[in-house]
Amino acid sequence: MKPRPVEPPRWADQLLETFLSPHLLEDAQGDLHEVFYKRVSEVGLAKARREYGWAVLTYLNPYFFKTFRHSAGKPATSHYTTYPQPSLFHSAMVRNYLKIAWRNIANNKSFSAINILGLALGMACSLLILLWIQNEFRVDAYNANGPQLYNVMERQFFDGKVEAGSGTPGLLPDELKKEFPEIAYAAGISWEQERTFSVGDKLNKEKGRWAGADWFKMYSIPLLAGTAETALNAPTNIAISQKLAQNYFGSPQAAMGKSIRIGNKDDYQVSAVFDIPPTSSVTYDYLLTWKDMLNHNEWLKDWGTSATQTRIQLVVDRNGVMDDPARVEAKIKSLMKKHNPDMAKRGSDIQLFLQPYQEAYLYSNFKNGYQDGGRIEYVRLFGIVAVFILLIACINFMNLATARSVKRAREVGVRKVVGAGRGWLIGQFIGEAMVLTSIALLIALGTVWLLLPTFNSLTDKHITYQFTDATFWAILVGMTLLTGLIAGSYPALFLSSLNPIRVLKGTIRFSSGARFFRQGLVVFQFALSMLLIIGTIIVYRQINFIQTKNLGFDREGMLYVSSEGELETKYDTFKEELLQMPGIQAVTKMDGTPTNGFGSTSNVQWPGKNPKASIQFQFSKVGYDFTKTLNVKVTGRDFSKDFGADSTNYLINETAARRIGYKDPIGKPLTLWGKTGTIVGVLADYHQSSMHTAIEPFIAKLGEGQIIIVRVQPGQTKQALTSLETLARQMNPKFPFRYRFADEAFQTLYRSETLVGTLANYFAFLAIFISCLGLFGLAAFMAEQRTKEIGVRKVLGASVASIIALLSQDFIKLVLVAILISSPVAWYAMRQWLQEYAYKIDLDWWVFALAGLLAIGIALLTISFQSIKAALMNPVTSLRSE
């Protein structure tokens, strides 16, 4: 350590120079220094410095401050040459500002309540949205080596189209790791599958996936037992979640090495217990090994089938520098060509590309093969909504404050006369706005705290107040400052600009500019509300359209039961017996479900097929009575036991028939995966997936399926369920009985739409409510201002109705202008949103008319209270006070 210079502590001197009155500084500081050097020789440097610092602190006394107004009557001989300048932030003034602010709040309780309530609601809303957005950005951001993680995806060029997909061949991860030294780790991850676990006599269904051996090495998922190295290396290993370890074995440690029987067939040994972070977008309660998946699913070894996902981690060199992902991407791009040599012949191509793992959650949509938005659009949308709502609340404040400025004008005049500068007045009014905003923030925090549990269950999140998180505080402080500043800005600028002479003479007239601005604010506010209302109606109608649209099959009264255990091996007996029981109309089975397709393939041939064309077909294996169970119209016939050779025959849908180009497809040959058969029936088109995508060509072949589909006799759901449960328990005691309604499964396709719809609903309601609060306040003010006028009018014979009309028309005009402005904007925005759907509603004009009427109606209702009150008032009372 280098020796300290023999001088007083610098911080102390700086402090002294900052706050001490300049005319006192020289001698006081000189005296302090003199004492300091004396003390250095007496008690040593360290102690002298401490004493100096302490002595300086004792000067922290208002008497010495720059801002202190030293008492009048200084002697003529005084040498105090520089007079201290009084400042805005002098304690006496601040006290006065606070007192006046408080009196204003207390004396106008209704206005203050409207202001604070509006601000609080707006802030609560924005806070909720901001917390949600913050949480969205945290999803998948938990990985220590996040920037090195990438998803490998396929870009398929076929049929003149480009499509991107996350599905890749099951052998790809190992191949990538072997071939490219730039790739440190590679792991596949499969779709989610529900399987039956049994440990001792405990029996339950669990959801999980298969994953590559590198999985836990790549992702920072805490392991409570086991190591990332060994978790998924042996084929019969299984990694389970903390929850499962708790349920089956009591604790993570107890679970290690224990055996779990899955599907009453295969035994697996617990090799790790993980605790998956709540911000992970991929969820699973167990992970089986990749080897196990390939052993059980021979078809996944085919390089032409893309059913699983591939994740990689790039190598980082000693300096922590990663290879340019674009370079890696270029290297792996044409890997698929090597393994699918006949691809080029068919005129198609599959290229691999990378997507940063952390982006995958928010940027999940691909259009024509390239990234095109995704969840981030909802994040942006709600971000905009948050700003809108806060803005509406701020406008309330601005409007009420300026409208009431007549009452404050005198105060401003007096302050100006006794020497207040414009800057001070601006500071004062913005400060007042800040005080109100801070009160509102406290209310908002309380409200949000109460709402969070409901909001979390609605959005499927785990949002809490993070008091230890700097971002959280930044959001709070930022929001308060911004709101206070915006809300206080116009009143502050407007009031501080008043001319004191005219104000004090009492001839205050507001310029038409100020009135125009205020009206502009109301128009803006209502235009925003209208936008939200129209948006809500259209989103709601589209969701309704999706959910009630005829899918081409009857999804009411249809049940899914997974085919496992005895139900799988003795399916025929099960089906026969079930059909004898009450409530059951038809039974079939299929791979995947009607609304959640099983997979797609381009390996379909037929005579006369253009060798260059490559068409993707959805395919599935189905059981007998497929059309009868789904209630799908079929031309030709369904698969039937009466025809022995049906195992090589095919059912196709109308779209497929069109794509193949057969005039009369029935009886024509078709080859799927090299097996030639004939087409026995054409299914009427039905929707195999959500309304975002158009109906695709579909081929069904006879075979085993994982899902048993049961058609219930209309109106006998209860009996059917009893029948099903009794039989399933009796035949298949080793497996828990679970079923799902086709209807519910269908709804889950639209979870994010439904969520957006619900939230938009709430927010639109809040927006209009806050706007109306403001309108209510303004109307009250206007009615008060025009009390005399109304009195005179009534004396001269005006009717109550005419006075209500008089008071209402001003506001209605504003709302009408707002409707005119917002309708085209809303039309454009909603058309953009609907573009995402292959099947959508029309933007009818009546939606806009309805929203307009709604806005006018609500506005009228809001002001009616005030206008009727004013109109009914006895003119004698209103005129007497003169």
């Binding site: 004492v35 008497y63 200084k74």
Partner: protein
Amino acid sequence: MRRAFLGEFEEIVLLVVAACSEEAYGVNIWEEVQKQTGRSITMSAVHATLYRLEEKGYLESSMGGATAERGGRRKRFFTLTALGVRALNDIQEMRNRLWEAIPPGKFQLIGG
């Protein structure tokens, strides 16, 4: 003119300035006050009192006598004004009057 009002500490500071044989400024006044009262007093308290006495017109000041250890900063030398002298005299007179008014033998009775 109004009666001089001086607080106890103000009076001590004023007396120290009056009693000072050399030119009185912050540091030597501070040291002298501590020595006379036997109390530990902060310099800021002395400064505040000096400035206040000047505002009240009992003291006047002039700048001068910069030294190296003061970093070239001047001292503020304080001298009594006529008003200050009169204030001290007033107080002294009042005290004398009161002392003389104490009945003889009273202190012995109390045991002082």
